[in-house]
């Protein structure tokens, strides 16, 4: 196997819970266009994500990967086309936007933890104020998720006192505390020291094993191969290729894909 896509964990992935629904549409993107000023970033994107899918979006920088997943929870606004998340269409209606955001978790490249709050407060803020969960219950759930990402002992610290890898695991736990149906990952390991990438990928894998619907923009091709059920390749704001990971890596169709893979898998 080439170096860039070697397995991220040595163990076998537990695929028991990982099944893709045939009826439950999680995200439906139809003819989506987006412009930044005059720059056409997303051009006619069509993508249907079924419940339980684990999709990795790859592509060169500036290809619109991040913009696409940021459209899914309306951090970016699209100008043309339709976007449905769990059956709710995203429009400028603020109520619907909040409704979608409650069900869609997002993990950012730079973690974006709230530096003035402790880890525990970071985790419980949204459950308490958005979902109306009582504080004690929210804290209990938060502890459970912190244990799941293996840092329960950091609960009372501030984000600034944690390493990058720990912060990103907290960020994942923070999203999970809202019990999202879908998780979006926007280059979650790109800002990490190489030694810390693995601990974050481990958490993402265990999340996949629990059956979560995930869309990950990432350059971790090993993760794509081990976990994804589909790899999508974007260039110049368009989806130019998609396939199952094995096929994608062994028989890329498009010239641009071949070039990209040859660059990153040496």
């Amino acid at each position: 196997m080439s170096q860039g896509s070697e397995a991220v964990v040595d163990r076998n992935i537990d695929r028991q819970q990982m099944h893709v629904s045939t009826t439950d549409v999680a995200i439906d993107i139809v003819g989506l266009h987006k412009w930044f000023g005059d720059f056409h970033v997303l051009r006619d994107i069509n993508l249907r994500v079924m419940g339980g899918e684990r999709i990795v979006i790859a592509g060169p920088s500036g290809s619109g990967k991040s913009t696409l997943i940021r459209c899914i929870n309306r951090l970016e606004e699209h100008q043309k086309g339709n976007l449905f998340v769990n059956g709710t269409e995203l429009t400028s209606d603020l109520k619907r936007i909040d409704e979608v955001r409650r069900e869609v978790g997002m993990v950012f490249q730079h973690f974006n933890l709230f530096p003035h709050l402790t880890i525990m407060q970071n985790l419980t803020l949204a459950p308490i104020w958005v979902r109306g969960v009582p504080k004690a219950q929210a804290e209990e759930a938060a502890m459970m998720y912190l244990e799941r990402v293996k840092i329960p002992e950091q609960a009372q610290k501030y984000p600034g006192q944690l390493s990058g890898g720990q912060q990103q695991r907290v960020a994942i736990a923070r999203s999970l505390c809202m019990n999202p149906k879908i998780m979006l990952f926007d280059e979650p390991t790109s800002a990490l020291d190489p030694e810390m990438v693995k601990e974050v990928l481990e958490v993402m894998i265990s999340l996949a094993e629990s059956g979560m619907t995930m869309i990950c923009v990432t350059h971790e091709m090993g993760f794509a191969r081990q976990v994804a059920n589909r790899v999508i390749f974007m260039d110049q704001g368009q989806i130019i290729e998609q396939n199952e990971p094995d096929e994608f890596f062994s028989h890329p169709q498009h010239e641009r894909t071949k070039l990209f893979l040859s660059q990153i898998l040496h």
Partner: protein, 374 residues
Amino acid sequence: MTDTAFVRSEILPSQPAPRRESGLVAWLRKNLFATASDTILTILGVLFIFWALPPLYGFVIGNAVPPGGTVEQCRVENVGACWAYIASEIEFFVYGFYPMAEYWRPNTVFAMLVLLIVPLLWPKAPFKRTNAVLFFLVFPVISVILLSGGMFGLRFVPTEQWGGLLVTLIISIVGICLSLPIGILLALGRQSKLPVIKTLCIGFIELIRAVPLITILFMASIMLPLFMPQGTTVDKLLRAVVGVTLFASAYMAEVVRGGLQAIPRGQYEAGASLGLGYWQRMYFIILPQALKHVIPGIVNNFISLFKDTSLVYIVGMKDLLEAVKTKNDAIEWASPTQSVTGYLFAAMVYWVFCFSMSRYSLNMERRLDTGHKR
């Protein structure tokens, strides 16, 4: 290959840091006589102290007439500060023309102020929420009733009779407590995506900032009644308070905007992606961080607001400075150092309040630092 690299085979244990030079001589050499120019500055500084300190001491303490002294003592040649004058007029400086028999009313308000504000500002004091409700909602109502009277059998005291430190404190405390929230709303409004709100906020801020406070106070006291329906009057003190508050809010808005701009976009996005609404995002995530960044600027505004209250004499209010100015002409205390002592006293009072605010803000900055500046 030449052997140029030294490879350590075992990790060195950490060693204690080298001891710093200590002792008086080392300290002197490091802080006062490190270089030739330092030495010159030190000598000049010492000379200045020797030149300035004795006369200052003589004026303030040595030759001064202590409280309780007589006006004759204040009239001898080369006399120092006439503290006897301050002591005998202190009631006017604190209460203005407030009727003497009713002094217990402002005194009660002062006592309540101290009792409520100390635990509010002291981080470890319990019952913060109750405390805040009492201070921001209950205290103002009780204070107005107590001070102006006219109900509950209290004699009515029109605001024209209020004066001195009482007025200075009323205007500055109301101004401080209201200008921050109004300033925050204006700053948020200025960043709003809704064009109407945005334009209104920008218009207000730019209009107020471009006009001197004196003009606003004049407008409030002379122009405002012209626009009001015949027969309605707005209290003079209230007009001054509103003028000062609006003026400070415009400045505050710009300080807060500076703080808002320092918050990375990721913080807004993280809040949004968790489903928090706009006001929740602002209240829990953005403002705590933004305000923390601009504490020095906010307190700067508070301090300048406190000192700006001395301008209300323009609309006929007798604040602390104006009260001092009035008594400086009092014949019964006419003496060479009467005015100087009066102004020195006023300056000291302003200094005590402003310096406390400054120290408290430094303290707060340290306390709120959660060490995210890695």
